[in-house]
């Protein structure tokens, strides 16, 4: 009965077998992990260890056999160290951690995000496309400008194949609609009559806006959002540096994906995050 064991291991070293510039300041990597690992679900993440530098959470973009695809955006020393790695280099991986997106059936799937938030959304898209159900999938991606759109070709391709609808926007209008993707989303919601679920991953302030939009529409039957704006140490629920108030939920195991009912209870959402000291900081 008390069979709950530690859900993870020390970092397992994987070798970078492919690296490409996905968009400005963001690189894609394929990493070969030399041990059997169970498949990742969309929304889950790994702790990525750059030996001698740092370890931090990174979402999973794709996964096949023992090869993992991730996308890393330059933020500071840790992510930069990864971006400076080359094919053949070793990095450590622990995971897969966290609760995944849980898309229901018979709804429109409205997937919205930006920046490295597109990483779990890519895997979610792959996952939805593999399902039997013929549901509409809409992607709403936004970025400052064209050269910061992640997986642009990948989504565009799927759009061209009529597998999904790719709504793309840039703040500067250099690609797609000019403006925020939230505007696009709201446009869509006004027109659509099908029950929908919104999946979001991106800056928390943007997710907050999405959440407020979604609440206005009854046809939005759920919203599932990835909380990636939290500092993590352990990744498996031990330390609580990633926790949100007042629920005491840990982003790493109780999240990172929360549904609308849960998000409603998270007062910190869009307002506060903890930093390394455990102190809360305004987002």
């Amino acid at each position: 009965m008390t069979k709950q064991t530690l859900p993870n291991t020390k970092p397992i070293m994987g070798r970078i077998i492919k690296k490409w510039e996905e968009c400005e300041d963001t690189f894609g990597f394929l990493i070969d992990i030399p041990v059997k690992v169970k498949g990742a679900k969309p929304g889950q993440f790994i702790m990525l260890w750059i030996p001698g530098v740092d370890e931090y959470p990174i979402g999973i973009a794709d996964f096949e056999n023992n090869v993992l695809e991730i996308g890393v955006s330059k933020m500071g020393v840790g992510t930069e160290a990864m971006i400076n790695k080359n094919i053949g280099d070793l990095v450590g991986i622990r995971g897969f951690y966290g609760k995944p997106f849980q898309p229901p059936n018979k709804v429109n799937h409205l997937i919205i995000g930006g920046g490295f938030g597109m990483t779990p959304l890519k895997l979610l898209t792959t996952y939805l496309l593999l399902r039997e159900e013929k549901e509409e999938i809409h992607i709403f991606e936004g970025a400052r400008s064209k050269n910061r759109l992640m997986y642009l070709d990948w989504f565009q391709n799927l759009h061209d194949q009529k597998k999904l609808v790719f709504h793309v926007s840039t703040d500067d209008g250099s690609y797609g609609y000019k403006g925020f993707p939230t505007v696009d989303l709201e446009d869509f919601l006004q027109k659509s009559e099908t029950p929908s679920v919104i999946y979001a991953a991106g800056p928390e302030r943007m997710m907050k806006v999405i959440f407020d939009i979604g609440k206005k529409y009854q046809k939005v039957i759920d919203m599932q959002m990835s909380f990636a704006d939290r500092y993590m140490r352990c990744g498996f629920g031990l330390c609580s540096y990633c926790a949100v108030d007042p629920t005491g939920w840990r982003i790493c195991v109780d999240g990172p994906i929360f549904n609308a009912k849960q998000i409603e209870q998270i007062e910190d959402f869009g307002n506060y995050r903890r930093i390394e000291t455990g102190e809360k900081q305004r987002i």
């Binding site: 009965m1 008390t2 709950q4 064991t5 530690l6 859900p7 993870n8 291991t9 020390k10 970092p11 070293m13 702790m47 260890w49 030996p51 001698g52 740092d54 370890e55 931090y56 070793l90 450590g92 622990r94 140490r233 352990c234 498996f236 629920g237 031990l238 330390c239 609580s240 540096y241 926790a243 949100v244 108030d245 007042p246 629920t247 005491g248 939920w249 840990r250 195991v253 109780d254 903890r274 390394e276 000291t277 455990g278 102190e279």
Partner: protein, 306 residues
């Protein structure tokens, strides 16, 4: 059958206490864990000012031995900020023990002065962290320093004072003796064991701080040994809180039999469903008490000393 226990003057609804540094950075996680059925909770160790702690990786699991190594290095927001969390806990009637640390006596005093007005259940002096350069185990391995700090804190507050001991010593009894003489109200044993893990492919220590502390199942036989030694030496003279490697209800009973009045649990609660763990712990203890026709926890305390 009752699960109530006492640690000196403190009454707990059951002997399960959340140990310091696990799920203890926010009032909300502490409250959540208490509400899942613990007897009390201990906060993350709080120092005089904000500390970033050590770089990541700072915590990972050693699955093979059901253990964890960490080098968090007492990352904490400082007592001025964390006061608010403690206040919320007290407001919500959560029996809260504030873990306190400092690099020296002056720092301990500063933190205590800053928190002593709170109606805390107890102050736990962390004289035993292996993961910081200054203070840490250095403080906790010197009987004189321990005596002085405890005595000083004793003069500041009338709240119960618990002293948390390190197993990284020649002789834990000497240190405990000093703490008792200094006037503490309970001994808490043990903190983590000095440890390290090296990755053979990367060829460097994995932890960002290189060195860390070992917790979890691997250290249970060590914790049991020290609690037994302490009880043998002090008997009823001072209550003992047993910590280290508890991962099953059986382990809690083992600590009680060794001489603990209550236990603290850390690593085992770092799981997806700590609520279930806590339920399992309680069920197992109740089952055992029923089978052995034991009415009160106190009947078990020190039961292995015959």
């Amino acid at each position: 059958m009752e699960l109530e226990t006492t640690v000196g003057s403190i009454k707990l609804r059951n002997p399960l206490i959340l140990s310091s540094g696990i799920l203890g950075t926010s009032y909300s996680t502490l409250q959540r864990i208490y509400e899942a059925g613990m007897g009390a909770v201990v906060t993350k160790s709080i120092g005089p000012r904000a500390r970033k702690g050590n770089p990541n990786p700072s915590i990972f699991a050693l699955q093979e031995i059901k253990s964890v190594i960490n080098s968090v290095g007492l990352a904490n927001p400082g007592y001025k900020v964390f006061r608010e969390d403690i206040e919320k806990l007290i407001e919500n009637k959560i029996p809260t023990i504030a873990s306190v640390f400092g690099e020296n006596e002056t720092e301990f005093v500063e933190v205590l002065e800053g928190l002593k007005d709170l109606h805390i259940l107890a102050f736990e002096l962390n004289l035993s962290c292996p993961n910081i350069e200054k203070g840490g185990t250095q403080i906790g391995t010197n009987p004189e320093t321990v005596f002085n700090i405890v005595k000083k804190i004793r003069s500041i507050t009338s709240s119960p004072i618990w002293v948390k001991l390190t197993p990284n010593v020649n002789n834990i009894i000497d240190i405990a003796e000093a703490a008792v003489k200094g006037g503490c109200d309970a001994l808490v044993a043990i903190n983590t064991l000095k440890a390290m893990v090296i990755d053979i492919d990367a060829q460097i220590p994995i932890l960002g701080y290189k060195r860390g502390g070992l917790s979890g199942a691997a250290i249970k036989p060590i914790g049991i040994r020290y609690v037994y030694d302490l009880f043998e030496n002090f008997g009823e003279k001072i209550p003992i809180v047993g910590v280290g490697g508890i991962s099953r209800g059986e382990d809690i009973i083992e600590y009680l039999l060794a001489g603990a009045n209550a236990v603290q649990i850390g690593t085992a609660l770092g799981v997806a469903y700590p609520e279930n763990m806590i339920k399992f712990f309680q069920m197992r203890i109740k089952k055992y008490m029923k089978e052995h026709t034991i009415e009160k926890i106190s009947e078990l305390v020190g039961g292995a000393h015959k």
